[in-house]
Symmetry: C2
Subunit: 133 residues, 2 copies
DNA sequence: ATTCATTTTATATTAATTATAAAATTGTAA
DNA sequence: TTACAATTTTATAATTAATATAAAATGAAT
């Protein structure tokens, strides 16, 4: 994918930092925190500041090309996938898996006449790799 | 419900502060933050400290009589209901509704051979009251 | 009453995030 | 090219939730 174009089509000027941050999100798919993103990019962009990472991710979320993942309560993670899906976090290795979820099977009879904008699902446990090692 | 007994049966010594904190959680059912709990109790317990609220809730969660609700990323909320259920937060009034969810309808084919310990579901949108006012 | 364990409290610290304003960069029109 | 304006990035300070630590208070048992 052409990242500069992707940003442009979402009304975001493709600055060097923005391209690199999105590139990291998109290629790693590791649901990184701000800190992880910063530490991974600062070697190649020595002038990078954490504020830029915060600003950029906020912009990405506002423009709809990034979503946030809140599993633990002391850190926000970011995801280049924005269409509805769930997450599984392994308590052992800490890895966060994207999982497909058929949201249509979920019916909330108590929410009649409610307007549902977002549905967040995340699970915790142990992944197959950690269970067999 | 007899709160002192409830605490005792879960291996928690029923101190005055602990009883009052659980009583607040259980009677209000408002998914309060630590700050909200503290502010509501400090008038009647002038010596109460926030550290006690933190400690007590951590104890309650460890002993399984309270669960945490993480919807926004900058605040943890607490819930006296511990069996599996979901939450709906209204973006307008901020109220958090408990909702019953049939978790059995959710199948995760990607998680074969994974061990699932917890499932968290929360929704956002506008509640019926806010939609009609 | 004395001792020991538990609970509560005050204080300091940590760490994620936000606010603010200056510096750097980019784009554009003369 | 130069000058100017707008945008983006950066450094610094401030805020805030949560944790760590140790002293003070409480409670139970002898």
């Amino acid at each position: 994918m052409n990242i500069a174009n992707h940003l442009l089509t979402h009304d975001i000027k493709p600055s060097y930092q923005r391209i690199k941050i999105f590139e990291y999100l998109y290629s790693e798919m590791n649901h990184p925190t701000v800190d992880v993103i910063y530490k991974n990019l600062v070697d190649n962009i020595p002038t990078l500041s954490k504020t830029t990472v915060y600003n950029t991710l906020k912009l990405f979320v506002d423009k709809g090309i990034t979503s946030t993942v809140t599993i633990e309560d002391n850190e926000v993670r970011y995801d280049a996938i924005v269409d509805n899906h769930g997450h599984f976090k392994c308590d052992d290795c800490g890895h966060i898996y994207d999982i497909e979820i058929d949201f249509s099977s979920l019916l909330y009879n108590e929410l009649e006449n409610f307007k549902i904008d977002e549905t967040h699902i995340h699970l915790k446990g142990k992944c197959n790799k950690c269970l067999t090692k």
